[in-house]
């Protein structure tokens, strides 16, 4: 039997015209799972001609990730009810994964008898591309972010790295100040020389001085031989001074001299030693306020504050939680030889509602805690630390309609590029001006 002739002569022509005029792919199958009709959009989306498709099993043509385990058409045929908006992908003839949404329903003839099933599917490649563009995560060295604040920092990082100027990194604890300092070093001409990090707040003054500048034999009771300091060990490279705001006024004077004269005197020494290191300082305190209150030297502040980078706290860049979470899980999977696939929606909601006073370090600790408790699959709320597991409704909701957001962004960018000229923006976007006007109105974009 010619399977394309399941409709009567007149209705077949009419149906074909209708089906070919719509932009969604549509195909129908019979009870043998063989394709009986295949519209023009289906040809375009799959890359398979109607002639080749008809008579073949639907899974050979549709080639979706749903086919094997979660076939919507199978559920429709078994349960006799339609399914809508199943998100999936298909693989086209160019071996590309095409993101789609699909809907299925029973195919009923004019007598009311079920003669098969029908599947309609929509190509979401463009929306996916826009969504990807909008939420594209940027990775610089070990720092991952999708936030515009961090992207702005990433944009200027090459210039900062190329220069030899001192850098002050400000940010709350756990915001990744040392990672940022390492990124600057690794992108700089000094990258083949050492990067040495010192936590100034962790050491008392004398120990900090001997640690940084070294000492000469006999400088103090147990100084039985010369010991080079971190400045000597980092020669040609970068010294990262964390918690610079916690240093004493006396140490600040010595550090200022190093910055001004590029030389220092080891403890117990007489001769000055030259140094060629770049200083990157960091603090979680408000140094300018400390200068105002005379608890930090103004001259040192200006020396280290040639370039200032302010790292936003995680609560101001919640959009980074998903990529950071993915990254931590990938690292842990690799390290512990597990295969945790990710976090479920409730965990994401719990994370999005948390304030993260400990910032990224706190997020990493939470994920590690959950990772240990999760045997396989997705991390759920039972794996979270107690203080997070029963968090109420999220304070920050992830964007509920990223496609709409992407469309607004694309149109706004085009308008900005063309100084608000809608005709020029329409030409720029390759769409008719009336289409652009309609979308501006629909999306509520204001000039």
């Amino acid at each position: 039997m010619d399977k394309s002739k399941i409709f009567g002569p007149l209705s077949q022509d009419t149906t074909k015209i209708i089906l070919d005029s719509i932009s969604d792919g549509v195909f129908t199958i019979d009870y043998n799972w063989e394709i009986t009709s295949f519209n023009r959009a289906a040809e375009e989306i799959t890359g398979i001609s109607r002639k080749e498709a008809i008579g073949r099993h639907c899974w050979e043509v549709f080639r979706s990730n749903m086919c094997e385990e979660d076939c919507a058409l199978k559920r429709t045929m078994e349960e006799g009810k339609p399914f809508i908006s199943t998100s999936a992908y298909i693989i086209n003839t160019q071996q590309k994964k095409i993101p789609i949404t699909a809907a299925t329903s029973l195919l009923i003839d004019k007598n009311g008898d079920v003669i098969g099933g029908v599947e309609t599917f929509r190509d979401h490649s463009l929306e996916e591309a826009l969504r990807h563009e909008l939420t594209r995560e940027v990775q610089v060295e070990d720092i991952v972010s999708t936030s515009s604040a961090m992207k702005n920092i990433f944009n200027i990082l090459p210039q900062i790295s190329d220069s030899d100027a001192s850098v002050l990194i400000e940010g709350e604890t756990g915001t990744g100040k040392e990672l940022m300092a390492r990124a600057i070093h690794n992108l700089s001409p000094r990258k083949d020389h050492p990067f040495i990090a010192i936590n100034c707040g962790a050491l008392p003054d004398t120990l900090l001085e001997s640690e940084l500048f070294g000492y000469k034999k006999g400088a103090f009771t147990h100084a039985v031989k010369d010991k080079p300091g971190q400045f000597a060990l980092a020669e040609g490279g970068t010294v990262f001074l964390d918690e610079i705001g916690d240093t004493s006024p006396a140490f600040q004077v010595r550090l200022l001299r190093v910055l001004q004269e590029h030389e220092y005197t080891p403890l117990g020494g007489i001769a000055k030693e030259k140094t060629n290191v770049r200083i990157i300082a960091a603090t979680n305190r408000d140094l300018s306020a400390m200068v105002e209150s005379n608890s930090f030297r103004q001259d040192l502040y200006y020396r280290i504050n040639v370039i200032r980078i302010c790292l936003p706290p995680l609560r101001q860049r919640m959009e980074d939680i998903p990529p950071l979470t993915d990254r931590f899980i990938s690292k842990l999977n690799l390290r512990q030889n597990k295969f945790i696939q990710g976090i479920d929606q409730e965990v994401l909601a719990a994370l999005m509602s948390h304030e993260f006073p400990g910032n990224i370090r706190e997020l990493e600790n939470i994920i590690e805690h959950a990772f240990v408790l999760c045997p396989e699959g997705y991390i759920n709320t039972t794996h979270l630390p107690g203080f997070l597991a029963f968090t109420p409704a999220p304070r920050h909701q992830p964007d509920t309609d990223p496609v709409r957001t992407a469309q607004i962004k694309v149109i706004k960018d085009a308008l900005a590029r063309n100084n608000g000229n809608r005709n020029a923006a329409a030409r720029d976007l390759g769409i008719h001006k009336s289409t652009l006007f309609r979308r501006i109105k629909k999306l509520g974009i204001r000039p």
């Binding site: 099993h57 979706s64 990730n65 094997e68």
Partner: protein
Amino acid sequence: MKIAVTAWGNRVSPVFDSARTLLIAGIENKSVSHTTYVSFHPGDIQGLSVLLKRLGVPILICGAISTSPAEALTENRIKLISFVSGNALEILATFARRNAIDTVHMMPGSPLR
């Protein structure tokens, strides 16, 4: 020689990227001598390549496959015969006999057809 087929019941799995099971067939004297099934994760091509090498399988027959895993498998020196469809054992028997896949067992619109 051994050959692997991504299996979905008795058929070749339609999409490699979402397949979960491998049918490993031993070929002797131009026929299939034995078969065994193993699980795998299509997102971990490195792991799959190591598994296939450990099992002594140089050839993988599968259904539709996206570019990224296809390239990764080829880079790992696995000979890939993709966009194949139909009864897995029939396809293996043909391949054992003739070292080729019948065109009737190629998917419609196959880029390799």
